[in-house]
Symmetry: C2
Subunit: 309 residues, 2 copies
C-alpha cells in the first residue's frame, strides 16, 4: 500500500463507473485516460480510509490499470472484469475557460449490463459513496446493504432530466446529496444557491453539498450553513473528476474520523476541496494518484490560511 | 448623530457621485431613489468612523435628502450645492437574476462640471475612499491631500475602456484597488481571478480586492490571499450600490481600527460583505440607512459562523 491509512478507520465503499476518457481542451488533447466516477472517488478516498471498489471493466482493461488501483491500496473484490466487451468509453470537449463541456462520443460497452453486485464482505461497510451512475443502480446498491451506513450520492444533469423519479426516491434514502450549482437549480427550479440547498434538504437527505467550481462549495446541514472558497487554482488543465475526487476525499475523511458532526463535516469540505484542486491541475487521475497524502495536507493547511481569520 | 461611532477613530473622506436613480428589475420599479457611489459609501462608512463627503448636487436635491446624510452624522462641508442645474440622474434595468444591467438613461447635469474641491479641513483625512467616478477626478482629489493617507479606489468597466491611461496612473498611486471580477478580467486580460489579482498588484497598489457578487470576494496583499464567501442573501432586490457599500464599510472599519495589517484587513472584508448584503436586500440606500450598527454586527457574526471552522 502506497498510502498510510490509519488502521482503525472505517472502510469506505465506492460504487460508480470505471472508464476510459478521451478529453479535448482548448490547449491539449489526451486519449483513453483512466477515468470514471469510481476511479476518481476511490483514489481520493484511499488517502484517508481503506477503500473498496464496485464497478465493471471490459477486455481492454489491462493489468497495468488494475495495478494503479492496487497500488493505492484499493480493495478490488467488487470489481467485475467482464469478457463480453470493452470498458465504458467517453470522449468530450471542454470549451474555452471550461465553462461548458460537450460529449463527442459515448460507448457504454460492458457498463450497459452493469448491475452492481456487492461481495458479502462489502455489505456492512459503514461509509458508502454512490458515484455518478443511474439512480436505479445507486438504489440497487443500497438494497444490498446489511447495516445502516452513512450514504453519500452524486448525480448529474442527465439523471435529473431523464430519471427524476428514481433520483427523488434515492435522495430520500441517503445522508448526503452532492451536486453542482447548475444541477441544484435544475432539480429545484431555484437559481439562488441558498434557496436551492434548502429545497434539496426538504427532499430527505440529512445534508446537501452544492459545488460551485471555482467559486467553492456550500454545505447545508439542518439549519447550519458552511461556505468554503475553492482552492486558488491558477493552472486548470482538466476539470474531469473534480466532483468525484471531492466526494471521495470528503467521505474518506469522515470515515477516518468515524463521525459526521458539524466540525468534522466542515473539515471534510476542506479536504474535499484540496483533493479536487489536485485533480484539475492535470489530465485524468494522474496528479491525484501521484500527489501523496502530504500534498493533500499541505493544500488543506493553505486553504485554511486563506479562508480563516 | 444616529450612529455611535467611537470618538477616537480616524475620519474617512468619501468622494464620488451623489445621484438620483430610477431602477427597474424583473419584479419592480422605483423612481428617483437617492443613489450614487458617494451616498452608499458614506452611509456604510458612517457606521464605523466619522465620515466626510465630497460631491455635487443640483437644484432638485432638497433638504429632505440633505437630512438623510446629516442624520447619519456625515460631515457635508464638502458637498457642493450647485444652482446651475439638476442632480446627476441614472436609469437602469437589471435583467433576470441580475446577471446584467442596461443603462436606459443618463443625465450628468451638474456632475458634468464637477471638480471635487476639498475644504481645507478635509486635506489631512487619513483614510480616503475614491468612489466610482472618472479616474482624473479621483486623481484630482489625491493632488489636494496634504498628508499621506490610506487611499482606496473603486472603478468600473466604462473607465477601463475609455480612460485606461488615467486609471493606470491612479492605480499606481493608491493603497487599495477594488473592482469586480469582470472588470479585473477586462483590465488584465486574465479570466482567472487569482491571476487577475496578482496582475493588478503589479500595477502598484499595495492591496487589491476583487468582488465576485454572490460568490464572495478575494483580497490580495503582497503574497497573502484571503477569500471570503458572500453573505447568504436569499432575497436580492437591487444590487445597486453593493460595491460602494462594501468599500465604505471596509475603509470605515479600518479607520475605526486605525490600522491595515492582515488580521484587520480580513475582518474589514467581513464587515464590507455584511454591509453590502444589507444594501442589496432593498431598493436604494433604504435598508442600509435604517439597519443600524447592530444589524451589521449580527451579519458579521453570522458570516463568521458560516465561513470559519
Amino acid at each position: 500500500m502506497s498510502n498510510e491509512t490509519p488502521q482503525n478507520t472505517h472502510p469506505v465503499l465506492v460504487v460508480g463507473s470505471v472508464a476510459f476518457d478521451t478529453i479535448h481542451t482548448t490547449f491539449d488533447k489526451r486519449e483513453r485516460l483512466l477515468g470514471g466516477s469510481a476511479s476518481y472517488a476511490s483514489f481520493a478516498s484511499s488517502y484517508f480510509a481503506p477503500t473498496r471498489l464496485v464497478g465493471i471493466v471490459g477486455t481492454d482493461f489491462g493489468d497495468d490499470h488494475i495495478d494503479r488501483f492496487s497500488g493505492m491500496g484499493i480493495d478490488l473484490d467488487g470489481l467485475q472484469r467482464s469478457d463480453s466487451g470493452k470498458t465504458f468509453f467517453w470522449e468530450g470537449r471542454y470549451e474555452e475557460n471550461f465553462h461548458s463541456c460537450h460529449t463527442l462520443d459515448i460507448e457504454l460497452n460492458v457498463f450497459e449490463g452493469f448491475h452492481p453486485h456487492l461481495p458479502d464482505s462489502y455489505r456492512s461497510t459503514p461509509f458508502v459513496v454512490l458515484g455518478n451512475i443511474q439512480p436505479d443502480l445507486q438504489m440497487h446498491v443500497l438494497d444490498q446493504m446489511r447495516n445502516k451506513a452513512f450514504v453519500a450520492a452524486d448525480t448529474r444533469d442527465l439523471w435529473i432530466e431523464t430519471a427524476r423519479n428514481d433520483l427523488t426516491r434515492l435522495v430520500s434514502r441517503i445522508d448526503l446529496f452532492l451536486l453542482n450549482d447548475d444541477e441544484a437549480a435544475l432539480m429545484t427550479d431555484e437559481a439562488n444557491v441558498i434557496r436551492a440547498g434548502r429545497a434539496l434538504l426538504k427532499m430527505g437527505p440529512k445534508m446537501v453539498v452544492i459545488k460551485k467550481g471555482a467559486h467553492g462549495s456550500v454545505l447545508f446541514y439542518d439549519d447550519h450553513l458552511f461556505m468554503l472558497p475553492a482552492y486558488p487554482v491558477t493552472d486548470l488543465r482538466d476539470p474531469t473528476g473534480a466532483g468525484d475526487s471531492y466526494l471521495g476525499a470528503m467521505i474518506g475523511f469522515l470515515a477516518a474520523e468515524g463521525g459526521t458532526d458539524l466540525p468534522r463535516l466542515k473539515k471534510s469540505l476542506v479536504y474535499a476541496t484540496a483533493a479536487a484542486s489536485i485533480t484539475v491541475e492535470s489530465f485524468g487521475c494522474d496528479h491525484l494518484e501521484r500527489a501523496g497524502r502530504a500534498e493533500i495536507d499541505a493544500r488543506y493547511r493553505r486553504l485554511l490560511e486563506i479562508s480563516q481569520l
